[in-house]
Subunit: 348 residues, 3 copies
């Protein structure tokens, strides 16, 4: 697996070269998409290496901050370029992708040739219900927007900003919970194998990978507009399917690998936790950044995106209720993802 | 009980005679409705008889194929006659009828004079969450339709066809699950009492009952239009309440009888399983058949039908969470059904 | 705590005096709001005193009748004054307030400095799923209204009245359940400490407090219109946040106090039970009273209110699934409430 990611690094110079050479944007888009996958992986690894040589609290904070670095960096470049629809679509896609595609694949791969896989209901239920509560932060502004008249446009944007601040507070509280008041529940994970890299190597990897992700994200985002024009795909489809899968690729691999090893608890934590962080910190951070970048980013998703997200969250809440999974449940989640992806593709 | 169904067979010649004699369509409608009830019962019985003399896998396949034969036959005749609204309404009605009316009645009848009835939470939760995942196949096309403009009409129909194919694949996978990879979970049911009928009698019953159901369905469907005109009822009400109850009458009786005998697991399996099969195979099969019959059948239910179905599925998912039922829960489900039926009746 | 309520009684003469003296309606509104809080508390206490000296069945009936007396009295005065939007908003606010604000505060206060608080999953799940089933009585009329054309206005009102009658029947059935067929499940609560007041004192307190609540409610309702004009707040915000909090203040205190004492079962019963009674008896009673008062009160909530209520009910159903709570879950519920309150405030 490590070799695969190392090999994929070759896409970084390829993507940059292709962009400089002015190759077809379709090729540039897919080259830079592949290039982001190993970079996201190395950012994650470097963060964990740094985390092991600090206190659990600081390590947890590091993980929480850099765990979504890739999605955030792509989001910032898309926002700067004014692709607000793409940013929102990639948030939508990250949520349904983590909950349906990643989790479905993990349950299918993990449950194949096994009777069933069991996980700790109580812990997972707490996570999935927290995700549902967070998701209402997307529902309320959308309904507000639909029921308010045109004169209420400033109120709509204020609501998005205020809701974002509430979400960031909840995120802060959940860090306080996991790093302070209930840290004993999380200690086992922090253990790990101890550091393998030197601090210098970890820091250098983190810095270099972040710079590379920034460059490649810039290239990826620049290729979206011509790609959309050339292939006739919608921004919704490109953002929700391709950009979202790329931004979450590292989590995808991890979840499937641990599921095959029968660690369904961890697979569920990765996919549900990743979706929760998109809602609690990535989306609100992009709204707040939008204010500074002068881009009218808000939390008003269109009905289609909103329904897709709410359904995905509801599905996960119901599917985890019985505390066990099998390959058919995984296939059902993938079918739900396929139906949404087809609809995103056909949507005009 | 067997005598009741045998006596009801008298409605078959009555319905055919009344139709030939040109009696009032209101009378023809109700005569043919009553005639379908025993036929559905005998199709079910003959299928089970045939199933007991094959391997469990073939038997399961037979049950899966003929279990929804009645609904499918009625649906095909309504589709051929161009009553697409009635077809969709009867799909809606089959789902809310199985989940609220049948299950509510079973919980009320079974729970009456008992403190509570207990069932296997884990097994039922897996079924009810599978039903919820399947239901999103109806939600996504409807939202697509509402958010797309008129120019997207061809895309809307393509989406319905593609979603139907996904659903049929999931149905195939669930047969693979129950008949192959996890067949040991279902063995006990296949046991039964062994064959009571000869193979010839079972086959003959199946063929004759299928032909009779086809004739009577044709008569029933022909009576809908004049019935609607005469009584001022909406196609929605006729399809969702009357046609749906008739098509599922056999399941209704079975569920209530086993609930009275305190076999709540079986009662839940019948009602939830029947609703799931409507979503996974009856509805998509009718969409695909519509393509061949040249009828624009799709999966775009109106908002009212969609909300009724989603609410019914959510209600069942919540009600089964505690692993027990009592008469009050049954009454609550019946109240929910009554509210929907009143609304269907009043809807213009 | 008892002293606090006794002291708050001073607001009763203050509110009446201010209203008579013609002080600014903003001051009158807040004075009468504070005055209702202790009165609601004394009505509850007098009811319980009377209940302890009757049979459990009669006592249960007394509690069920007077438990919502305050909300009902405020609702009747608002209805008489024609503030139908305020009445509906206060119903909405009572439901989200009980489920998110009260329960959130109880979980936060109770969970603070505790690892977690445990409650009886099965019992609470039965209550929260019953609440969800009841809530569909608000969803169906709203969807009916949105999908029907203008010509269907009389049908819309008939539907509200019929649905209200169904709800009142379900309420009657749930009394039959708790007072007759399953009364042994509720006996422990009825026990208590035995009477502390004389019958005369309890009766006198009940009568005097009811009269005082009626007077102060009248004053409160009269102050709403000028308050709305003066402060520029919407009727939605005033009804859903202020009127609702005042009407439920007694439950708020009780739930938080028992949560601090680690009786989470009771805290959950108070908040979920209070919300259920709003749906099953307060709202339908106001619709039926509206017919007699000649006010077109119905069950058609606007989309925004409806979504807020359904989300609150879903959140509670998911949050209680794991049978335990902690301070972070409480904070999440409060965040959800804050998001809705901000949206109500900004809504034009």
């Amino acid at each position: 697996m490590d070799y695969l990611f190392f090999t994929l690094l070759a896409f970084v110079p390829l993507a940059i070269g292709a962009a400089v050479a002015g190759v077809s944007p379709v090729i540039v888009f897919f080259l830079s998409a592949f290039a982001i996958v190993p970079l996201a992986k190395y950012i994650g690894e470097a963060t964990e290496e740094l985390a092991t040589r600090t206190t659990p609290a600081v390590g947890g904070l590091l993980n929480a901050t850099f765990g979504n670095a890739t999605e955030l960096v792509i989001g910032v470049f898309a926002l700067k370029a004014g692709f607000i629809e793409v940013v929102k679509a990639s948030i939508t896609g990250s949520i349904i992708g983590n909950l349906l595609f990643v989790l479905g694949f993990a349950m299918l791969a993990g449950g194949w040739s096994r009777e069933k896989q069991i996980f700790n209901r109580t812990g997972i239920l707490a996570q999935s219900s927290a995700l549902f509560v967070a998701t209402i932060a997307f529902v309320v502004p959308a309904i507000f927007f639909q029921t308010a008249d045109a004169a209420a446009a400033p109120a709509v944007h204020s609501l998005s900003v205020l809701v974002s601040l509430v979400l960031i507070c909840v995120y802060g509280a959940s860090l306080l919970f996991s790093l302070h008041t209930h840290k004993h529940l999380y200690l086992e994970e922090a253990g790990g194998l101890g550091p393998r890299w030197s601090t210098t190597r970890a820091l250098a990897t983190l810095v270099v990978a972040m710079i590379a992700v920034a460059c490649v994200s810039d290239i990826l985002v620049d290729a979206i507009k011509p790609l959309v024009d050339r292939l006739g795909w919608s921004q919704l489809f490109v953002g929700a399917i391709f950009v979202a899968i790329v931004g979450n690729a590292a989590e995808h691999f991890s979840a499937i690998i641990v599921a095959r090893k029968n660690h369904m608890d961890l697979a569920l934590q990765i996919s549900i936790g990743s979706a929760t962080q998109i809602v609690l910190i990535v989306a609100p951070a992009l709204v707040i950044l939008g204010v500074f970048l002068g881009q009218p980013m808000d939390l008003i998703f269109n009905t289609f995106e909103l329904v897709a997200m709410v359904l995905a969250v509801l599905i996960v809440n119901f599917v985890v209720q019985d505390g066990e999974s099998n390959w058919l449940e995984g296939l059902q989640l993938l079918a739900a993802y396929a139906i949404m992806a087809i609809a995103f593709y056909l949507h005009p």
